[in-house]
């Protein structure tokens, strides 16, 4: 796996009167899982959308392996992304969906069965997506992201809709992915969800990056992650 770092520098985006993201800067390193933590509406999804070329930043840059997402020669072969704004057509079967996006990304069709096996949706491939549960849709989205065998994974609230077994499975999957040298950037608004699964933390609150660095440094002297989180968000907004 090629080591590919994510580098976000001075990213800002305004929607009308709302400053969704203000001067956000952080890094996500290869071989590590970086948690992107913040309350609802903190600007996580907007930041990820800018990182992935779906939304244009007003200022700043977001680079993956030194290039912006839109400049990447093989975008879906470099980065796999799971976002709420990226869906699947309900009247397609899982197989039809994966096949279409494998073709579109220029990846071998044999990947369809491989990623289905990896994400555990092999038995559901020939059913229409309309009938999928939320958890199965999540797995299908991850399978779609893996089609190009990427070295970077960007996941927005990936455990939404997953059952406890699914959450454990995802954590182990991401751990193994990072151990092979992959870069993982994972957003969540749930502290406890990230606590056990991440190496580094980027804390975002009201559009600003309030803290970033290794998780151990963050917890530091505080009794637990929750106490540290409250302390840091208080610092930004006294």
């Amino acid at each position: 796996m090629n080591p590919t770092a994510i580098e976000v520098t001075g990213l800002s985006k305004r929607f009308g009167d709302v400053e969704a993201v203000r001067e956000a800067s952080f890094r996500a390193e290869p071989g590590r899982i970086t948690g992107f933590l913040g309350p609802n509406g903190a600007g996580k999804s907007t930041t990820l959308a800018m990182l992935l070329g779906l939304t244009r930043p007003d200022t700043g840059t977001a680079r993956i392996g030194g290039a912006s997402y839109r400049e990447l020669a093989d975008a879906s072969g470099t980065v796999g992304a799971v976002l709420d704004t990226a869906g699947a057509h309900p009247s397609m079967t899982g197989r039809g969906h994966l096949r279409a996006y494998a073709e579109l990304g220029g990846h071998p069709i044999a990947r369809v069965d491989e990623v289905a096996a990896t994400t555990g949706i092999g038995d559901y491939l020939d059913r229409r997506i309309r009938g999928y549960s939320t958890g199965m849709r999540r797995r299908l989205a991850l399978a779609t992201a893996l089609l190009g065998a990427p070295s970077v994974l960007v996941l927005d609230e990936p455990s939404n809709g997953l059952d406890p077994a699914g959450i454990v499975w995802l954590r182990e999957f991401l751990r193994a992915f990072a151990a092979r040298g992959g870069t993982v950037l994972l957003s969540s608004h749930v502290l406890t969800e990230l606590q056990h699964g991440i190496d580094d933390l980027v804390l975002i609150d009201r559009g600003r990056v309030a803290w970033s660095g290794p998780l151990d440094d963050f917890t530091g002297s505080a009794a637990n992650l929750e106490a540290a989180f409250l302390a840091h968000t208080m610092e930004v907004h006294p």
Binding site: A49, L52, L54, T55, L83, A86, A88, H89, G96, L104
Partner: protein
């Protein structure tokens, strides 16, 4: 680019849209024509020319041109479906160079429009021949000439598909886009034909250009006989074809250029 066209084609074929489109094409081509050819001509008031005359055949084929909003709708529904089901995000994540995605989409839907036109043409020809046989007359035009007329209509169907894709890419909201397509092609364009002074532009609107292409002047002549307004003079089929391809070119450029900078949210 080939991977993109294959991808867009795979996406299209993974839904039921193409089957529905081609069934609709056959229903419109065969059913509509059969209805017109069998029930219509001689018995209507005022009587229309029958299929044994060249005018009668032209009339039936030209009426088929009034159903071209269907391939436009197919293009519109397909593109706005990407926004409705948020697959446009998945698509732009897979291929962040949006212009290339939309070019592939235009090629695929231009192709589907052509397939739609071909099926509708075969259906129309079948219905015309069947109607002539049932009435015990021979068709008013030679088969070669009929083939040319129907091929023109099939090409127009491809152009309308491309127009539909462009309208969908601009409007994004499915209901709004469908409303625009139906409202324009089914209503507004015909209303424009009725307004003196304004109706001189009608030959240069898609519907007027299609009418010129198929040499279909029945509608404007019939209206001209009923109400005392001056009807615009239709252009030649060649100019009609040029106007239509002009619309397709403009629609293609707009469909590719506009979404380039827009945020997907």
């Amino acid at each position: 680019m080939i991977a993109l066209v294959r991808g867009e084609l795979a996406k299209l074929l993974a839904t039921r849209l193409p089957l529905a489109a081609l069934l609709t094409a056959f229903a419109c081509g065969f059913g509509f024509t059969a209805l017109l050819a069998l029930v219509g001509p001689g018995d209507s008031t005022p009587p229309l020319p029958g299929v044994e005359t060249a005018e009668g055949v032209g009339l039936v084929v030209g009426m088929g041109g009034l159903l071209l909003f269907v391939p436009a709708l197919i293009g519109t529904v397909a593109v706005t479906g990407e926004y409705r089901h948020r697959t446009i995000g998945t698509t732009f994540l897979t291929v962040p160079r949006r212009g290339r995605v939309l070019v592939a989409k235009l090629l695929v839907f231009g192709g589907l429009g052509l397939a739609y036109g071909a099926v509708a043409a075969v259906g129309t020809a079948g219905a015309l021949l069947a109607a002539a046989a049932m009435r015990g007359v021979s068709l008013g035009v030679p088969l070669g000439a009929l083939a040319v007329m129907l091929a023109q209509l099939a090409l127009a169907a491809a152009v309308y598909s491309v127009l539909g894709v462009a309208i969908g890419a601009l409007a994004r909201n499915q209901l709004l886009a469908v409303g625009i397509v139906l409202g324009y092609f089914y209503f507004l364009e015909h209303v424009l034909l009725l307004i003196p002074g304004v109706n001189v532009i009608h030959p240069f609107l898609p519907g007027g250009a299609t009418a010129a292409l198929t040499d279909f002047t029945f509608l404007s002549e019939a209206i001209g006989e009923q109400i005392p307004i001056s009807m615009p003079v239709a252009t030649s089929p060649a100019i009609g074809a040029l106007v239509l391809f002009g619309y397709a070119a403009v629609a293609a450029v707009v469909a590719v250029a506009v979404p380039l900078r827009r945020d997907v949210r």
